[in-house]
Symmetry: C2
Subunit: 209 residues, 2 copies
DNA sequence: ATACATTTAAAACGCTTGTTTGAATTTTTA
DNA sequence: TAAAAATTCAAACAAGCGTTTTAAATGTAT
């Protein structure tokens, strides 16, 4: 497999997470990757398809691990919401073992996908989303039998929202916190603060809809 | 007061919320506003200062109402977190009385500010943020005396994250929900689902940090 | 009516963007 | 080793961007 392709994907992944898809230029991506500009169109065809390839790779590094752990969880008895959250956070941290800050990068990419979604990524998600998160939905359903699928859907995305926002805005928030009360929280620490919030978002006793 | 200025701000506000600051072009903004392209640089000087003006106007429409209601709340006894959330949601809905979907637009703008923050907006926020949200912080502090300011800071932004994400991704999420389980949730309805999540995010019993 | 501020119009500026091209180079295959 | 295929490279392309400039056409006060 071409190593140029990989270098481009890795550079693009970092760039997309930090600046968003539109704001990232192929010129900077290829420069950081140490390859020629034209290599993008040669290997991927277009910027759109590069974006899709990056998302594809990112999800394929995350989803299988998550799916496996969740399916182990389904077999257990007395599963708590906290367990699901823990599995999810574990799946994120497992990404960091391959490359530093990869978990943050991944969450940021998910956030960018929702925020900048222009159609082609939406279509891609609709096709791959169910497969990747089916186990998650099943678990939630079995954990909260009183809720219908739609309610679970909204809770999941509420939790996802906190996660995405805190990751995407991590730099700005840390800077704010430092200026405001001499806080010394680093990026990675945010992942440790998350589980509590995620669990409470998922178990929220909202009685509407 | 010049009506051209207003037309530009309103058009830009909508555009910024939907596409983000960078992805919005002055050419489309002025075209939709029905004014000349050069009018932007004549009235605002630059795109950066237009962005700042839009954010300024948006916050000034929201903050005073929120501040007033929060300060009324401080005087009361036995204030619950749910009360704070209610006041916040009310402040959002009050925006809709002036123009349709204005609450969504506002939340989206806040989200864009965090996600695309390039420095000048960050500086602007650091100056105006404390003033606008001081009452909110004071209330939270008095409501949860066991928590320090930093913990409150993170809870607030966790809640804000859900709100921002659900608003920014509203279209994509509604589309997903419709495809998945024939849901018929409209954008405005999302505001009704929020309070429960916000409350639980704020009262989360996370024991880290 | 004179002076000033506002608005429109059209054109061009320099710059960055994604994409294409054609030749040079490397790698693979026979 | 020679032919073929795959890859890299520098250069140029057209299009879009924010911005500036020039001019003429409106208003709006003094």
């Amino acid at each position: 497999m071409s190593q140029t392709k990989d270098k481009i994907i890795l550079s693009a992944q970092k760039q997309f997470a930090e600046l968003g898809f539109e704001a990232s230029s192929l010129r900077l991506i290829t420069k950081n990757a140490g390859v020629n500009l034209a290599a993008v169109n040669y290997h991927f065809g277009s910027k759109k398809m590069l974006i899709q390839s990056v998302m594809d790779r990112s999800i394929r590094q995350f989803a299988p691990y998550l799916k496996e752990k969740l399916e182990q969880l389904i077999l257990k008895e007395n599963v708590k919401t906290a367990d699901i959250v823990e599995v999810f956070i574990d799946a994120l941290k497992q990404l960091d073992e391959q490359s530093d800050e990869q978990s943050m990068v991944f969450i940021k990419l998910i956030g960018r996908s929702y925020a900048e979604s222009q159609g082609h990524l939406k279509r891609y998600f609709v096709e791959n989303y169910p497969e990747a998160l089916d186990a998650l939905l099943r678990l939630m359903r079995q954990l909260m039998p009183s809720l219908d699928d739609e309610a679970i859907f909204w809770r999941l995305h509420c939790a996802l929202g906190s996660l995405v926002f805190l990751s995407t805005s991590a730099d700005a928030l840390i800077e704010m916190a430092e200026a405001e009360f001499n806080s010394h929280v680093n990026k990675q620490h945010i992942l440790d603060v998350m589980p509590g919030f995620l669990e409470s978002a998922l178990t929220a006793n909202n009685n509407e809809r």
